[in-house]
Symmetry: D2
């Protein structure tokens, strides 16, 4: 009895069960895609078909209807057990669906009929498993809150120019939602998000993702050159350029939390590999089962402890986030409360990112030199796990500054 994380809602339970069913199949395909750096299109076909990709889409639109972010986190950790590259790529799309649901509700409340129409159309496509979304936000030389990618007004809409990096899931994407800036007329900028179809002239997916790990995530650069964006495809314009975390918390929560929990699956799989190895191998002069060596038991204990820590943090932050999103269904939360929650998120992120790396490392120690070979799954998990601390919006030392500033009651604008 492992006391793994479990869902808190019926829809969540369905999603988690489905995700768990995909995991072993993803795992089988992972080694080859890792070696080749190829994109696992077949995984996404499967995930669309099972509607895992439509986890957050309401049942009325054909999805699973998961409303609990906690449960999305749990399900993504299950996918992560199979193949972390696929999990983080799928999360980009699944989280996007959750954000679309939130946006629809607000648009309905505010009576913005045009946006309601667009979003309902989109949810229909997502629920039918027809469309894959990519939300490229990172760029070289700047932070998430200060995109250099820019839309400038033109007849009937805008021209988009810019270059995004880490465009996870881009090979499969039909629609791209890059974050952009718009001149505010006073020498400054506003921020927003645009929707661009894959076949738009000027959009290019660079096919240049070649990283140490997460090799099957398709995180290519995405280039936009004078790419036309119709007027009604610019959303969420806000006056928060340069202010990390000073805005609509929905996207940050929905995108980041299940992304972080995906890494838990790596640790759980690494632990399983270690336990399976030592409960099946006998070695040494006495041919004792490796699992009977106390020092190996203790190494497994250290993994168990780290996994318990990660699960606990994910469980708690998931519950806190659900309560927060419920409290602020219709309005933005007060910035202090949003910061306080994001502080907890960053605490979770830091620990999960780090502990997952350590669990895989210990698993390698348990399994011995064979774990260093490319044909051993731990060598992939070790490289995949290291992606965690690079995930947005903060490097670990920045997260520390952010957490500390919130904790002492200062405005969490980093000194940089």
């Amino acid at each position: 009895m492992d006391f793994e994380l479990t869902a808190t809602t019926p829809a969540g339970e369905r999603f988690v069960r489905l995700a768990a069913e995909h995991a072993p199949i993803l795992a089988e395909r992972a080694a080859q895609h890792d070696r080749e750096g190829s994109f696992p299109f077949e995984n996404f076909d499967d995930l669309q078909e099972s509607r895992v990709m439509a986890a957050a889409v309401p049942e009325s639109f054909g999805g699973i209807g998961v409303e609990s972010l906690h449960d999305l986190m749990v399900g993504m950790s299950r996918l992560g057990r199979g193949d972390a590259s696929t999990a983080i790529a799928a999360n980009m799309h699944i989280a996007g669906g959750a954000v679309v649901v939130r946006m629809l509700r607000r648009s309905q409340t505010s009576g913005d009929a045009a946006t309601v129409d667009t979003l309902e159309w989109l949810l229909g496509r997502l629920g039918a498993g027809e469309i894959t979304m990519c939300f490229p936000t990172s760029e070289v030389g700047t932070d998430l809150a200060s995109p250099f990618s820019e839309v400038t007004p033109t007849d009937g809409g805008y021209l988009l120019n810019g270059r995004k990096v880490f465009g996870t899931i881009s090979p499969a994407a039909d629609l791209f939602f890059p974050s952009v800036r718009i001149a505010d007329g006073n020498g400054g900028y506003l921020t927003g998000t645009v929707m661009v179809a894959r076949d738009s002239p000027g959009l290019e997916v660079a096919d240049n993702w070649d990283a140490m790990g997460m090799r099957a995530s398709g995180s290519h650069d995405i280039l936009f050159k004078d790419c036309f964006v119709p007027k009604d495809r610019l959303f969420g314009v806000r006056n928060n350029y340069g202010k990390v975390g000073r805005g609509f918390a929905d996207f940050a929560l929905n995108a980041n939390l299940p992304l972080i929990s995906s890494f838990l699956g790596i640790a759980e799989t690494a632990r399983d590999i270690a336990v399976k190895t030592i409960t099946s191998k006998r070695k040494g002069p006495k041919k004792k089962l490796l699992a009977e060596r106390v020092p190996l038991q203790q190494l497994v204990a250290e993994m168990e402890i780290d996994i318990a820590v990660c699960r606990s943090l994910i469980d708690r932050v998931g519950r806190l986030a659900d309560a927060f999103l419920e409290r602020y269904r219709d309005d933005d939360a007060p910035i202090e409360e949003s910061d306080s929650l994001m502080k907890e998120v960053q605490c979770m992120k830091y620990v999960v990112n780090r502990k997952v790396i350590e669990v895989v490392d210990r698993s390698m120690i348990v399994c011995g030199g064979m774990a260093y070979m490319n044909k051993h799954p731990l060598s992939r998990l070790y490289r995949d796990a290291r992606a965690g601390p690079f995930m947005q919006p903060y490097a670990p030392y920045e997260a520390f500054e952010y957490i500390g500033k919130v904790a002492v009651g200062l405005e969490p604008i980093l000194d940089r």
Copy 2:
């Protein structure tokens, strides 16, 4: 907004609120008792009066009626913020109350009228705040599962002989419930618990507690010399001598979980002291507020992270324990499930014990050399915090072996 732990039931909420109200008063008295090594009788008068000591006693008997172990854990962490010595001493009694409630239910189910009578009488006294209980279990040179203290049959009952150590709350105790062994007639032993009134001839509280920390917990040695125990005051006889954790999980859960969570309060207070210090002091040539120094913000962040980890583990294990206790209201759990839960408990215990020490340590770094002075509260918290890893039933390296053995599917009997 601190996202501190909160109760999950209405009775729990009442308990947590009351405990929080006691904390600042306990804190005021803590320094003197620490210096003198004296027992804070006035704290226990207060805690009896407010019925915090009767937290787990049903309302029908005059108590607060907390049924959730999770909520007991949360409330004890609040007491721990004020004075950890008092919290762990109170926990001995409060947890005892929770166990009595469980025993009553089982005695009712099994139709053991005599025990029902005794326990109802006891709950009445507890609910009225008239009686304080002490459950001494530790002895020198053996483990919890193998007491040397022994009852031998005599006319109308037993004679009890033995010496207990770490008899926390003993100065205030009216009733003692030492764990004992009884010869099983085959050269082996059974285990059980006896109830002995303070004024029983042969019982002596040694007044010899003189430790580095937890100095106000009254954890004296307790000696029993031919101490008469009436026949009906021997409870819970089981055939599990020498088998740690192989038995009635109720006591272990009820006693240990809130004990562990009490230490969280130490960390929370240490963090508060550090934050208060740096948000009120200006130093250096520029007279900058200390809180504005990024390195100090980062130290606070490390504390926040550790506190988030501890809270998450406590929250999760509390919920798991509540579900477990609900599943096994009337019967003992299967040993595998009991072990699996205890594995999670030991993961929590290890991390909380260690992280609390580290939080206090960092708080001392933040506050500087003054924190090393005896007049500074952190010097007491530093010594109190170190008690954690000594808490029963396992030293850290033993906990690792236990966790590891359960995780690889071996019977968790330590190799010692």
Copy 3:
């Protein structure tokens, strides 16, 4: 064969052997002084008699003539094995002797006959074991480089006013050498050191040292109120007010290095206690020697590793410092080189301070609950060890900033 640190010079070998002989006697006396917070005058009588207090004083003046700072570090670690309070108090005086020797050489080179006379007189007294020196430098609310204690000109000399804290060895001191500032006539300050006899009117040793550990070090406050200082008793006037580490590296090296290495002795003794305990105790159902339990062996290994790390750092920095002091016998070193060496010193200090705490902590785990009792020597070592990170000139987070700034080639002035 323990591969403990050994001296590199014959005089060093004599000193180290003598220090090692004192250690067990200091250890016997340590518990009582710790409990009472009393000053171990008898230790200092012994150390004067054996000339350990005159370690750095040339043989021609009656001392041992240790010229190697490395060897002073080794010897102080031996004293630290017996009683760390005594070691750090003795170091204040012994290091002072080493500085006096350096100052004499420079005064001879520069032809400053008056200072030569004073210093030769002083060395004679030190070599005869007649005089004990105290160098109070710390003050509340400022750093080492910016003393508030000030001398103002008066007839025939100066009036000294100020309050020093952490005046280690003050109860036994005959001569005090507080760091001071002097107005430079342009609204700023110069720094210097004055020599004040204990019986000078206006000097008061406050008898108020009451800390968690290092309780026998006599680190009282020292007050100077209009205390007269003859003109020729102001030394080393420099234009470096407010600039930590921007000056005469001799004092910092001579005073700090053996201070840091004293803590190694704490760790070595804690390790010895742990090893002695488990190699002499049998426990558990099988009455196995504790030392035969693999998990306890592993804990001992962690201690061994930490001790090896500390020894290696001390050994290397000691050699680097000796080479540095030899290169710059007559002149100040270039500031970049001085900073580079001080970077290595701060690396050593951070690690030794922290690892010593961890070794004592692990030793407590090995020894079990009894180690938490005040009568157990580890409870004193645990409290003594925690003094390390408070030692001047940097808190750990400041040391990190200092090290980092030097490493990236920036001037190491802290951002505070």
Copy 4:
């Protein structure tokens, strides 16, 4: 001024200087060989030509004549700065040369003329840079002390059968020296080493090395199938089968110590990359030099501290080993002393292996997401560094047991 490790002998200085000169050229070639998993033959041509490969070979035979193991360690750390794969492969050969020198001396002392002849011939070839040696010792399913590879007597010599793994440098090797066992006639085994030329029938280098890191080290499997070994090519027969560390310490010291120190070079290069990055890049709204951010300075400080720790351990163990090898030039050391030194070696190995990984990890944090790309050198260093803990003879948890057993005075035979 970096206070890098320096040689203690003139020959050592020459070797270190030469090694340092090779490093940048190795670094240029490293990326491509890593990507392709190809063997850098051109590196070994260069290293033979400069006589770095003949570091330990006496000058009279054409080598550099380094007699200090300390200095070999320092030089190998320099090579490791350029390319760790090449360094560990070169070390196999260079350490072999040092062992040959030791063997020659003993053979001369004992008057074994035939062996003297063979070894002098060999040293001549090594000094001329004509021959490359490989010492394969690892096998699957057993430890270093218990080879399964076996020689069985046949006419004029032996037949060798077995399979070695981790046959580092095998692509370039002319002579192989696998460790073997020989039946002792009583159902047990003796151990020894044989010399086999590359073109011997039955010897096959498998060309199957495909690991996460150290990809250019050519650590292929090596198969021996009825491979004939002339009678006089079996050396060092000892009765120590199954006893790790119970034998000729020369090989263990000479082979392992510079192997471990090679990893230091990885850390030093990672640190240099991080420092270079932040001292040349400006980022953020204020375009502040990254090096001016205090949190980045602190991360660099953590690297500096870890590097100082590694250097200190290497420096100290190198000096201890030189003294040991000098004490036991002609005879085996007493086993207790040999174990005590090996304890220090294992302490060093554990810390260096771990700290090097951590330094590279922190360097990645400093450099940000780009460091995760395959084209960034840190992604290679991260994978290379992880090889360390797999290095013979002990996994980290085994090293802990070994160290602990020696420290408590038990025979260090692992409980496995």
